[in-house]
Assembly symmetry: C2
Homo-oligomer: 237 residues x 2
DNA sequence: TGACACCCATTTATCATACAATTATGTTTT
DNA sequence: AAAACATAATTGTATGATAAATGGGTGTCA
């Protein structure tokens, strides 16, 4: 399978993304404070040693995510925090570089508790035949890995399972959570699963309910997973 | 108060945003199908009659929202639907221009039912003193308008109330919903409120619970609002 | 025949420069 | 004092050139 679909929009290789990432870091860390006017384009070009073209594309990228707002004559301003789109996986990726990861992880868990049970319920009602096949294959893999544990493969399958749930809701507004969840898995949860922490039975309950088309049971099962599982805080090993 | 904070990122005046909007329309409407390679930069420049600079900034904007992905030699491709960030208010604004609005409205309502009760619960627990003051002022306005109805002002206050709930959660991941909700209000719900449809008592229950710091009651009250209210489908009067 | 290294053409990526549009600020005029 | 105006600073757009990336073709060799 091509890895095209797994690629993150705006390859990290490109210059303007690297610069955007650096500016984002300064904003997210508070080095640049909210509502502050950042240096002019020419100044930043010199600081980064890049052309105006590349710098402007970086600024446009950050503008699109709600971090900046440019106006002629007045300059480019850091927008207030409530305009930052934390549900953008690229931005989330940058956030992960800053820390404090523990707080972010807990906040995300709160979001999962709100959204994921409902996503499971919708998936139970709306998943297509094709999506059910994918879900079956992925759960099968999880089941195998539960008895023959492999941390890396488990994390991958676990992530894919929850991702498929979001994709199976048949609701456009739930789709973005699939990517956000993947980013969080890779950034925070990746190394938090250990043998014995697979929660395979909780996952089985979700899987079974979705396949049976039982929305209420799927919702409850996913709630149970998020409450009972021994999801750990990220460890920096 | 300056209207700076109400501005949408990337003024609609700028050329590259206009072009991005037009390309987005073609993608969202299916005129450009998923995984399709769009014409080369030079071709598009001629089609739109703009410079490469402006076109590239437009493409970068769409890339940032998950609609496009560019690679040297191969070209710029329309990404598959599950990469489109529907939780971006600018993209949502473009979606609103396409329709079919009825389906989108219902999908969004499903999202609200998942996320808003939990947001209300978090707000009850975490709202700051300052946020409680804002919430009080806004609800007071709603209460006044309920007995002395004015459609436009009511919609504004209603929107502000729910927006404040998201901002009061103290959770970064709930913040973006504030803007998304506002966009939806302006695009879809704006003309759906009529006299008698204010649900003032349901709103009062949410407000009271949040001010009392009763998370469970706030969650339940918001659930009631979304289930019992006579939210209507958008009417095209 | 097939695998591998190499070259080539196409497309995006970046750079450099010039000019236009916007608007806060200060200045002049009434 | 108020209003109209001019100025300067900054972003917005245009243009042309060069660099980098890469799919596809070509040829070599086993």
């Amino acid at each position: 399978m091509s890895n095209f679909f797994l690629e993150i929009a705006g390859s990290k290789r490109s210059l303007h993304v690297q610069v955007a990432r650096e500016i984002a870091r300064k904003i997210l860390s508070g080095e640049l404070s909210q509502n502050e006017i950042i240096p002019s384009e020419m100044t930043l070009c010199e600081q980064f040693g890049i052309s105006r073209t590349a710098l402007r594309e970086a600024i446009k990228l950050l503008t699109s995510k709600g971090l900046l707002l440019s106006r002629p004559k007045v300059g480019t301003r850091v927008r207030s925090r409530d305009n930052w789109n934390f549900l953008d996986s690229q931005l989330l990726d940058w956030v992960a570089d800053i820390g404090d990861n523990e707080a972010i992880y807990l906040e995300f868990l709160a979001l999962r508790k709100a959204i994921e049970p409902e996503a499971a319920a919708l998936a139970a009602s709306n998943a297509t035949a094709e999506q059910r096949i994918l879900l079956s294959a992925t759960f099968q893999k999880m089941d195998d890995l539960a008895s023959n544990f492999n941390a890396e493969e488990w994390t991958e399958a676990d992530m894919e399972f929850h991702r498929l749930v979001f994709l199976s809701t048949g609701n456009n507004f739930f789709l973005p959570f699939a990517n956000v969840l993947c980013t969080m898995f890779k950034s925070f949860i990746g190394h938090s699963s250990e043998k014995g922490g697979t929660c395979i039975e909780e996952h089985r309950a979700i899987y079974t309910a979705i396949m049976a088309g039982d929305a209420d049971k799927a919702r409850q099962a996913n709630t149970n997973l998020l409450n009972n599982s021994n999801h750990r805080l990220p460890t920096n090993n």
